[in-house]
């Protein structure tokens, strides 16, 4: 089936076609879901290679459970964000454990180094945002990313994070406050003019 005819189908319908053996559905789902999974993993991990590993692993799990997917019970995107979030959290914990166990003082990621003021452009602002996100507690980061970068509604985020909506609101509020405070200290670096 040509790819165009698959475009209007929901993720769930595509997954059913995939489970039935349609290779066009495999391609359509890959092009639709892989960028989302990668973006979310990258926002959580701030590391491209690790984000790709996590996204690929999450999608592999999706391919495996496709034949058992129960239509109407869950959204594929919700499930995928949850698995990516869990896998990323596992990686972050392992990273912290390694950092704690390491005797030598490894250099911090380059994002923590102050950038050259004159060269700050939009990409640098994104890097600063990513660094500020990385400094947040994991749950706050996940909630802020899902709400303000992935653009999901709070009930969907609550389902992904398996908490109540009020807890999500609290995580987002605290996360945003911490982000704003972190970035406020770097206004000049980021090229924001006080006269704006």
């Amino acid at each position: 089936m040509p790819r165009d005819t698959l475009a209007p189908l929901s993720d769930e319908a595509l997954l059913a076609r995939y489970a039935a053996g349609d290779p066009a559905a495999a391609r359509a789902l890959t092009l639709r879901l892989a960028p989302r999974a990668l973006a979310h993993a990258f926002r959580m991990l701030s590391d491209r290679a690790e984000a790709e590993d996590v996204a690929q692993e999450a999608l592999l799990r999706l391919w495996r459970i496709a034949p058992d997917w129960r239509q109407g019970e869950a959204q594929v995107s919700t499930w995928l964000y949850r698995v990516v979030g869990n896998l990323a959290t596992d990686r972050l914990r392992a990273r912290k454990r390694r950092r704690t166990e390491a005797l030598d003082d490894a250099p911090e990621p380059q994002s923590a180094a102050p950038p050259v003021l004159a060269d700050l452009i939009e990409a640098d602002r994104m890097a600063a945002l990513q660094a500020a996100l990385a400094a947040l507690p994991d749950r706050q980061r996940q909630a802020v990313v899902l709400r303000h970068i992935e653009g999901l509604a709070n009930p969907a985020i609550a389902s992904i994070m398996e908490v109540g909506v009020e807890a999500v609101e609290s995580l987002i509020a605290r996360g945003k406050r911490a982000l704003a405070a972190s970035l406020a200290g770097r206004r000049e670096e980021l090229g924001y003019d006080d006269a704006e």
Partner: protein, 129 residues
């Protein structure tokens, strides 16, 4: 009129987050190829054994199947069939061939071969004494 610093920081954060939303990290071709390869491999693995048939309860063997089994199986049944067919052929063919066969093995035409001798001689002997 200037915004309070908190509001300004919040507004700038929102701008940054919006910008991040508009510019997600783009997946490269190699990554997409790996994901697609996984998808197609899992799909192929799932189809390799063929569609799994709906499990069916084993059915009890019927009369003829049990009879064949009792007689020793299909080969034994074929042997019975051959023997029955041979009997029919022998019964319907011309007798000359059977007579020729009897001559060949030492039997003369017209003679009889008493395979079960009677008890007449014994009875006669008993009566004369």
């Amino acid at each position: 009129m200037t915004m309070p610093s908190d509001k300004r920081a919040e507004a700038e954060l929102d701008l940054l987050l919006d910008a991040a939303r508009r510019a997600p990290p783009a997946p490269d071709d190699a990554f997409l190829a790996r994901v697609l390869a996984d998808a197609l491999q899992v799909q192929a693995d799932a189809r390799a054994p063929g569609p799994q048939p709906v499990p069916r309860r084993a059915r009890r063997a019927g009369f003829w199947a049990r009879l064949v089994a009792t007689l020793g199986g299909a080969f034994a049944l074929a042997g019975f069939g051959s023997a029955a067919m041979a009997g029919l052929v022998i019964g319907y063919v011309q007798p000359e061939q059977m007579i020729d066969l009897a001559g060949a093995i030492g039997l003369v035409s017209g003679e009889s071969l008493d395979l079960l001798p009677g008890f007449d001689a014994l009875l006669t002997e008993d009566l004369s004494q």
